[in-house]
């Protein structure tokens, strides 16, 4: 059967959920062959095999951490040569997209980014994308080369599908440009213990209406009662109330959870661009005319300082 190359996003061997979703989509097109790079690459094999990887290619070298993007492109290109896949799938993270992009140039292939669904077609994989702040849905194909497609988190279910997952070391020779951009230092982001924003099933967000950094405690308390991630609008981020890494929207994270709760957020087009594909949308806003109410499944016109703590108490009580 045809093979599909899947780029693995992992942290020291712990595979992140979007990669497991990619394996689900990959199986619609052929047999998934996974590529894991860097420290802990071999430790990814178990979980990848459980989710359908017939083979796991691994490579570890200091270059992957010491230089930006290009060494990983060299490895993906080597894997592409070895496997001759019918498609290359990469998670739609900022780095994932750049890796996919440079690979596409090298193998003279078209690229589709931020697919939200993927199916096999008679002329190759058909990707669904959300365009113009998710107000349009498009279906596209790649007409030249090996389709290179990046896929957004939460685009497919994670499904067990045990396969061999035979580990094989991949030989990679680094290109002249591999060492072009040095990583001088890296400061890991502190973990909050909450779910990853882009992967979370529920996201609770706060905007300008939260009115102060200290008040974000109200938003966090609701998030914790629901086991949710915390998001913020750009207005809240620009005011310094919450970190930019939690920004939802065009220039922040794009999220697609089962449930999105917007508190004190008006619903500007750039914010909608990052959350409009959420399955269920709820908003609390004191202005009945706020555009966010055009999107909601359920909205409360009211003061978030009243509504949100009451909701949190009620959730905690019901959980008992």
């Amino acid at each position: 059967m045809a093979e599909v190359l899947v780029y693995v996003d992992h942290v020291d061997g712990a595979v992140r959920k979007p990669t497991l979703e990619l394996l689900t989509l990959a199986r619609r097109l052929g047999d998934p062959v996974a590529l894991a790079l860097g420290a802990g690459a071999e430790n990814t094999a178990g979980v990848l095999a459980e989710h359908g990887a017939v083979k796991v290619l691994t490579s570890d070298a200091p270059e992957y951490a010491d230089f930006l993007v290009v060494p990983k492109v060299d490895a993906l290109q080597a894997a592409h040569e070895l496997v001759s896949p019918v498609a290359v799938l990469v998670p739609s993270s900022a780095e994932g997209k750049e890796i996919a992009a440079r690979l596409a140039v090298r193998i003279e292939s078209g690229i589709i980014t931020d697919a939200v669904d993927l199916e096999a077609g008679t002329e190759g994989p058909v990707a669904t994308q959300a365009a113009f702040a998710a107000s349009f849905t498009t279906k596209s194909r790649i007409t030249k080369g090996t389709p290179v497609i990046t896929v957004k988190p939460n685009s497919a279910p994670v499904e067990a599908a045990p396969a061999a997952g035979a580990v094989e070391a991949l030989a990679v020779s680094f290109s002249d440009t591999a060492t072009g951009t040095k990583v001088l230092s890296r400061t890991p982001r502190e973990s909050t213990g909450r779910p990853e924003l882009t992967e979370a099933a529920i996201v609770v967000s706060g905007g300008r209406g939260v009115n102060g950094a200290e008040n974000f405690a109200i938003i966090e308390a609701l998030a914790d009662s629901l086991g949710a991630a915390v998001g913020a609008s750009r207005a809240a981020v620009d005011a310094g109330w919450y970190p930019h890494s939690n920004q939802v929207g065009q220039t922040g994270k794009s999220v697609s959870p089962q449930l999105y709760i917007a508190n004190g957020i008006s619903g500007a087009i750039q914010h909608r661009a990052g959350m409009q594909t959420s399955k269920t949308i709820v908003a609390v806003n004191k202005d009945a005319e706020a555009p966010i109410f055009d999107l909601v499944d359920y909205g409360i016109v009211g003061d978030l300082f009243q509504v949100v703590p009451q909701l949190t108490d009620e959730v905690n009580t019901r959980k008992g």
Partner: protein, 261 residues
């Protein structure tokens, strides 16, 4: 020696307008007002700041787009860029990112550069991959998605705030940089800037000038094909309740009914 900066800017349909696709499934650019992609204003701003720090620098703004795209160049010139290059050709219609980047690479090479600066993403296609592709085509280092950038003694350094870490990056010139909207608010053009922009040179290039064939660009030269574009149905009107003191409880009831609690 002069530092030659080329800033790539895109002319895009206004996001607050009614954006849609034309019959050939390309973006309808006639029905909606266009403007300089707001995220590219940050690229122009960083170019201006880098030029201010350099002994001698020249900023060229470059766009690939139709006749109207000159507006984007004028805006960038009125902010303070020195000159502009406009690549315009009927055969460019419908170019995907591979075709667009090919044209940009040729135009950047023809213009001459030490540093190429891009925005983090366009506000229409929002792929955020053109900078990496352009760097690959030009065979120069990419120092992308920077929230802080500095150019000194032939090297560029910058901070990239990623998903799991914040990184300090460095590369030697020539290099390609892309900047985020965290890099610093873009300046407004002054009246003087707007008047001065009218006299600044805008060079027009077509495919022949760039030694490209029609078949290498546009719909013909694109490696992706859009088969359908459908407007998402408006969400069915949701339930909206005014808080009379029990709003939080009502919301909890709703969340429970949807099995979220």
């Amino acid at each position: 020696m002069s530092l030659r900066i080329v800033v790539c800017v895109k002319y895009v349909p206004d996001a607050t307008g009614d954006r849609h696709f034309a019959d050939d499934l390309t973006v309808d650019r006639d029905d909606v007002d266009g403007l300089l992609s707001e995220l590219d204003e940050y690229a122009v701003e960083q170019a201006l700041q880098i030029a201010d720090e350099a002994d001698d620098a020249e900023i060229t703004v470059l766009t690939v787009g139709g006749e109207d795209a000159k507006d984007a160049l004028r805006k960038a010139l009125s902010m303070g860029a020195d000159k502009a290059v406009h690549v315009e050709d009927d055969d460019l219609h419908g170019s995907d990112v591979m075709a667009t980047s090919l044209v940009l690479a040729k135009a950047v090479e023809k213009t001459g550069y030490d540093l190429v600066i891009c925005g983090m993403a366009s506000t229409d296609g929002t792929m955020a991959v053109l900078p990496a592709i352009l760097a690959e085509r030009l065979n120069i280092p990419q120092v992308t998605l920077l929230s802080e950038v500095k150019v000194e003694d032939g090297t560029v350094t910058g901070r990239r705030d990623g998903d799991s870490a914040s990184e300090q990056l460095q590369a030697s010139l020539p290099a390609l940089v892309s900047v985020t909207d965290q890099s610093g608010e873009a300046r407004y053009p002054s009246f003087k800037g707007i008047m001065a922009a009218k006299k600044k040179p805008v060079e027009s290039l077509d495919l022949e000038d760039l030694e490209l064939e029609a078949g290498e660009v546009g719909l013909a030269g694109s490696w992706t094909q859009v088969d359908s574009a459908t407007q998402r149905p408006a969400r069915t009107a949701g339930t909206i309740v005014k808080d009379e003191g029990e709003g939080g409880k009502q919301l909890a009831e709703y969340l429970a009914s949807q099995k979220f609690i």
